[in-house]
């Protein structure tokens, strides 16, 4: 039974990754999960300098999911290279570094600094709904997305995954823009912008008013977008949004994702990632499948 998938020349032992920002750099969850069992660890977004993030409350619960407005707090690329990369290198798993920035230059700065680092891929977050400048603005207009993608591709020494926002009218159009600009892969979806109001205090629950929604509640939207994107482009897609178990992960693969990532459900069940790996294997066994890649885009329609 072969669970390997290859994306932009990088081969992963299985198609299961962690979703950026929900797993730190793996350290915090290594109490629960053997990181060696994961296809890749995707790290929390890192910028060129440390970011403080948003004021609290930063998280809120919603029906079947949560909102977050962390605002990309991060220690900056220097600390990241000194602390997080060496930590992850100890494990037999691929390292994907999620990159954020306020200006194109910020992104390029981080991408350059990572050039000689032992990281396998870069995931470019142009879809964080929780910071005022930069970020999501790049991810909501096809021409801005094209522009930043091509600039990053010129500088990047590792394959580039563009992480797309679901807060758009036409995900196929955005996907094509990223592909045309040279992106090696896409990942989707980032969180959907949501809001929660405390009716007794008549106040927003999050200090930032809005937050990004994630968790099982968003899965049908994510599966739809992965499918639409897979129909529109040839580059591989990493699917995420509400994955709680192997069944959910397989749904994304069938829709056209080449790999999947587990996000908010790590908080609900810290063993989710490994359970997804094992569940996919059990499914393959049950249906006598030899290669996990046979699932990719295999929905009949």
């Amino acid at each position: 039974m072969n669970t390997q998938v290859t994306i932009a020349g990088v081969t992963f032992k299985n198609p299961v990754m962690t979703a950026s920002g929900t797993f730190g750099s793996g350290m915090e969850y290594s109490d629960f999960v053997d990181l060696n069992k994961l296809g890749a660890v995707v790290t929390k977004g890192v910028a060129n300098v440390p970011w403080e993030g948003n004021p609290t409350p930063r998280v809120a619960e919603v029906y079947g999911g949560m909102l977050n407005a962390i605002g990309l707090q991060n220690p900056g690329i220097d600390v990241f290279i000194k602390r997080d990369v060496p930590f992850l290198q100890k494990y037999d798993t691929k390292i994907i570094v999620n990159v954020c920035g306020k200006t194109v230059e910020d992104y390029l700065d981080v991408v350059e600094r990572l050039g000689d680092q032992p990281v396998d891929m870069l995931e470019i977050n142009v879809s964080c709904p929780n910071v005022k400048e930069g970020a999501i603005a790049f991810g909501q207009k096809p021409d801005s997305l094209y522009d930043i993608t091509s600039q990053i591709k010129k500088k990047a020494r590792q394959p580039v995954i563009m992480k797309l926002s679901p807060n758009v009218t036409d995900i196929a159009e955005m996907s094509r823009a990223a592909e045309a600009a040279g992106a090696d892969a896409l990942s989707m979806i980032n969180t959907i912008t949501g809001m929660k109001i405390d009716i007794h205090r008549k106040k927003f629950v999050l200090a930032n008013k809005t937050g990004g929604m994630s968790g099982p509640a968003i899965k049908p939207v994510a599966v739809r977008m992965v499918y639409q994107a897979a129909q529109a482009v040839k580059i591989p897609i990493i699917g995420m949004g509400g994955i709680a178990n192997a069944e959910d992960a397989i749904e994304f693969l069938l829709a056209g994702a080449s790999a999947v990532a587990v996000g908010a459900m790590n908080f609900v069940n810290p063993y989710t990632t490994v359970e997804v790996v094992e569940g996919i294997e059990a499914y393959m066994q049950r249906y006598g499948m030899e290669k996990v890649t046979d699932l990719i885009g295999a929905v009949e329609g």
Partner: protein
């Protein structure tokens, strides 16, 4: 460090001990490693409320096989917990956070200050501290809870907002009313109380350890949801933010900007 786990626990008993306040004993091997000031995250079984609820450790049984949690019904999750009884099961994640620094109190005069639903963690703390304990408790009204348990481990002083029992006012008013003094403070309660303690401790050059609250998602330091402002750049984040779930919930009052 002890490894964190998410495990299924069985409810040994549950009873209501004040209006909306419940007293829950859980059978769990996590009890073995539980320190006062630490907490567990309790998962609702309902599938609409997915995030775990942080609840402080109130007491550990003598055989270290059971944990006591005392909580107030605040919303959907705690209302669900309150609906359960003996034999029902609950999943919890723990043990989480740093706990109070017990050694700092050795041989000193200590204030244990608890306000409202900040009182529960004071119980296990009082049991473990080996020193002179003055236990200052603030309640809304005469609907007291846990003060009898606490009275077994030190001198208990009560304040109520409406003046129906003890000093009228809050825990700070107890200090004035009784002319009390201490070398170390350990406290848990609402933010205005913690701010007053920080100020008092600063003015009187007393060491103070306060337990903070914030909305949490992961409980293990991964999501960066639960931060508080720190006065110095924090070692992990490299910004002025510490994670309450892992760097806290107990902080030296001078370290945090509240």
């Amino acid at each position: 460090m002890v490894q964190k786990k998410k495990i299924k626990t069985t409810i040994v008993s549950q009873k209501q001990i004040a209006e909306q306040v419940y007293d829950l004993w859980l059978e769990t091997r996590l009890a073995k490693d539980a320190h006062p000031g630490q907490f567990v995250a309790v998962y609702p079984n309902h599938e609409s409320t997915l995030l775990p609820r942080p609840i402080s450790i109130c007491e550990v049984s003598e055989d270290k096989r059971r944990l006591r949690l005392v909580y107030r019904v605040a919303g959907k999750g705690t209302a669900e917990f309150a609906s359960y009884g003996a034999e029902d099961s609950l999943e919890i994640l723990g043990v989480l956070g740093n706990g109070f620094p017990i050694d700092k109190a050795k041989g000193k005069r200590v204030f244990l200050m608890g306000g409202g639903i900040g009182i529960p963690p004071m119980l296990e703390l009082a049991k473990r501290l080996d020193c002179r304990k003055q236990i200052l408790l603030g309640y809304r009204d005469k609907d007291l809870f846990l003060q009898e348990d606490l009275a077994r481990y030190g001198d208990v002083y009560v304040a109520t907002e409406d003046g129906s029992v003890g000093t009228k006012g809050n825990v700070m008013d107890i200090i004035k009313a009784h002319g009390l003094a201490a070398d170390v403070i350990m406290a848990c309660g609402p933010m205005p109380m913690l701010r007053a303690i920080k100020k008092y401790a600063g003015e009187n050059k007393i060491e103070a350890y306060i337990s903070l609250e914030e909305r949490m998602a992961c409980g293990v330091g991964a999501c960066l949801g639960c931060v508080c402002r720190t006065t110095k750049v924090d070692a992990h984040s490299h910004v002025h933010n510490a994670r309450i779930c892992t760097d806290g919930p107990v902080f030296e009052a001078g370290e945090v900007d509240i």
